[in-house]
Amino acid sequence: MNRFAEGIVKFKWLIILAVAGLTVFFIYESKDLHINSDIISSLPDDDPAAKLYKEIGTQFGGNDMGMIVLETDDVFKAEVIQHIKQITDSLKYTNGVSSVTSLTNILDIKSSEWGIEIGKLVDEYNLPDKQLQLDSLKTYVFSKEMYKGAVVSEDGTATAIMFTLLPDEDKQAVATEIKDKIEALDLPETIYFGGLPMMMNDINELIVSDIVWLVPIVFLVIAIVLLLSFKSFGGVLLPLLTAGLAVVWTIGIMAVTGYELTIISNIIPVVLLAVGSAYTIHVLNSINHIKLADRKQALVQALRYIIVPVILAAVTTAIGFVSFVFGAYLTMIKDFGIFTAVGTLIALILSLFFVPALISTLSMYGKKTAIESEEKKTILTHKILLPLVKFLFKHPKYTFMSWGFLLMLCIGGMFLIKTSVNMADYFKKDNPTRVAEGVMQKKFGGSLPVFVVFEGDMQSPEVLKMMISTEHFMKEDPNIEITQSIADLIEQMNDAMGEGKKIPDDKAKIEQLWFLLDGQEVMPQLVNDNLSKGIIQSKFVSVDSKELEVFTAKMNRFIEDNPNEHCKIELTGMPSVYVKLNSSLINSQYNNLLIAIVMVVLIVGLILRSASKGIFAAIPVVATIIVLFGFMGITGIPLDIATVLVASIALGIGIDYSIHVITGFNKHLISHGDAEKAIEETILLSGKAVIINVISVSAGFLVLLFSQIVPLQNFGLLVAISMFGSGLGALTLLPVILILANRKRKIVTNNH
């Protein structure tokens, strides 16, 4: 250990140069870091429903579809129709837009006794402006199933303008251009933007604004906490420097390995700043404690003391993060787990190598701060820790019982815990995407796409008939309002040929009806090129987990009950994905908590060479996790893609406080031999470090309350509460357990 510490001092310049070089390299590389706002891409490939959904979205262009909703008191007014045309034209002439469908340009196919009339619903060169024309248009639109509730809402107050983007286009850029163009029209009606391309654009803005705003605030908040605690520049600068470098390196590594920033991983900098500063604080503390005249020797000795606890703290935290890799459903959560763990280890390495190297190079400045910070912290000791120690020794049982009562309450609260998978809920209530989603749901039958995929000969009567009967079955569900498929079009064309609205029994007839459909813009959205695959497109109104689950189960049963040799049927879409996501939230929560607890108990027990100490150390964090879930249940904060992360993070960071207390207790017990005295000294000494750490980490995470993304706000609040809980647990529950266990042992030994 001494050799290691001396080595650092010896090679300090090499270390500093290496760190500087790597930092420059990573800063340079991080230019290439992209933002990935495509939530769909985070769906896992090992889930068949999710994989199919991704494939279908790409193959049939659904992921490239956008929607603009125009809302007013009555759509059928001359000026509103005029505005719809303005929007339609401005979309049509935007590069990257492949097709536009709106009230003013939609194709209208009428069939009559003598034939088919193909025309436009509205003559775009001669828009209806007389009341009579407008009234008859309204009556006609509401008489046709393909317009009512699809192009114009059933109450006639909103109309949808649908558009598709060219697949190879930079969707974000096109979406931005569309938004700017439409907003520049400055129309009096309320305009909403929906669909994946527009939503991604919005998410992108949120990610950028979160990074730009939150990171500096976290920096500032942690700096203030550190300044108040250490009252020295070095005490502020060094922890922030290592945490900052850890952020830069991690981002750099993400860029080099080809990963992207997502709505979850954009908080990696915040997390690392809050977590990563801790290790340097420990190292600094240790150096400041050693009052040897020879600074070099002091540094070496300080390192020797601190190396094991710091490694332990970092490794347990990293385990908390890594546990997401197992059991998380969304790949972006796995990525988050991996890179926060990597960042934590980088912060550790920097604290152990770079910080001592830097201090030994600039050793002149280190001395003064050591003495100063030593004296300032006594307020904390006298006002909080001493009274706490007295109270604990006086009322250990009350303290224990209070914790017991709190835990009982929270266990009750845990049963109230809810899950949330609806992506619209991730945005604040006033966020345009969320508002738009609400409007889509109310006026246009929801925005959750449902696809039923048929694999077989798309021109065979059997397959088409199966599609029709599937559509009938789907429409029995109150949450399904519209379905669309190639089978519907074939029925319509057959009707136009004067043979009724049904699928012809003769394949030759279907093939010839196809001649009428060939080249229609809607075709690539319904069947693939070689006609071996087709889909039923639909939307699901509700976002209620229960209803999604019921629908998915019902559909899958229908598919199972209707096996046939003509085609393979599969269900996918957002409901299927949400159902999987929902069950995975609960499962992965169990899994990664279990993994994290076992790993932590094992590692702590192994390093402290005592199984009971491993378990003791885990008690305050397990209690904290119970409090956390209880709090979520009682306050109604749901388990979602971000809050599912809290428990493991709380465990990983919170365990450090217990480790501090236990190792402190061990050390003092050896030097004093008296357990009670050891507990007192431990609380007084480690208590300071624990409280400062709780405050700085909590303050860092609480900054997330200003995030634009709701789950991240909840995440910040919950981590702060967990930090507070683990700190309190380590300073009250754990000592009380030690006191009580010790008294019992005393009584037992006295009795003998």
Binding site: D89, K92, Y93, N95, S98, L107, W114, G115, I116, E117, I118, G119, K120, D123, Y125, L166, A496, M497, G498, E499, D506, A508, K509, E511, Q512, L513, W514, F515, L516, D518, G519, D529
Partner: protein, 244 residues
């Protein structure tokens, strides 16, 4: 003095007017000559091969026989692929079309006012397929004269999806070599390349290659076995004939 200036102004105006009208005259004359080349035969029969090429280069081929009389009567009969054999389309004046599907054994009248729709999955819109004289549909302007071609800018007289069409007309034979179609935002959206060959006394477009630049999709229409002025009558363009 005064009169000198007046005379100069007058002369300038006359000369300028002369130049402008000469220019306009030129442009319309050129376009009329093009119309003559394209629409001079009384009737035509031939074989038509339609090759659809998607953005990955995948080809789909359809074959049809074609009969045309004057500029406004046309009959398409598909001969390939097998599933489409016998499908016939008869186009008559005033946007009236009849479609015959042999599997159903009956015809339907199709009235289409949506002329920007593409014809049977090709990149040609009904508008493009219409054989109305260019000089009746567009106002021409001579943009420039190059070594081998006149470059004309055509502005639609009536409603159209195009804001303009730029056409390059062969100087010696007056057939079009290239037409470029612009949308109302002035983006070039389609282009048609023409290959002409003289058959009997007429120039024949042996191939028209239409490219949809947005979708990166191409349609080649190739003509073969072309015969002119074989004496087709209006009776050859009736619903009864359609079903044969």
């Amino acid at each position: 003095m005064k009169s000198t200036i007046q005379t100069a102004v007058m002369t300038a105006i006359i000369v300028a007017g002369g130049v402008f009208s000469a220019n306009a005259q030129d442009a319309s004359t050129i376009l009329k000559k093009m119309d003559d080349v394209m629409y001079s035969p009384k009737d035509m029969t031939g074989k038509n091969k339609i090759i659809l090429i998607d953005k990955n280069g995948k080809e789909e081929i359809r074959e049809a026989t074609i009969q045309q009389k004057d500029t406004d009567k046309r009959m398409f009969r598909f001969t390939s692929p097998a599933s489409q054999t016998g499908i016939s389309v008869l186009s008559l004046p005033d946007d009236v079309m009849y479609l015959y599907l042999p599997a159903f054994g009956k015809e339907r009248r199709i009235a289409t006012s949506a002329k920007n729709q593409n014809f049977a999955g090709t990149d040609f819109s009904y508008d493009d397929m219409e054989s109305v004289l260019y000089s009746a549909k567009y106002t021409p302007k001579l943009l420039k004269t190059e070594a081998d071609v006149f470059v004309l800018e055509l502005t639609p007289l009536n409603r159209s999806d195009y804001s303009k069409v730029i056409v390059r007309i062969n100087k010696t034979n007056f057939y079009p070599e290239l037409m470029e179609y612009y949308d109302k935002a002035n983006n070039k959206i389609k282009e048609a390349k023409y290959t002409f060959k003289k058959i009997d006394n007429y120039w024949n477009a042996t191939e028209i290659e239409m490219t949809d630049l947005k979708k990166n999709h191409k349609t080649k229409m190739q003509m073969s076995d072309v015969k002119y002025d074989t004496g087709l009558t209006d009776d050859d363009f009736t619903v009864r004939k359609l079903k044969q």
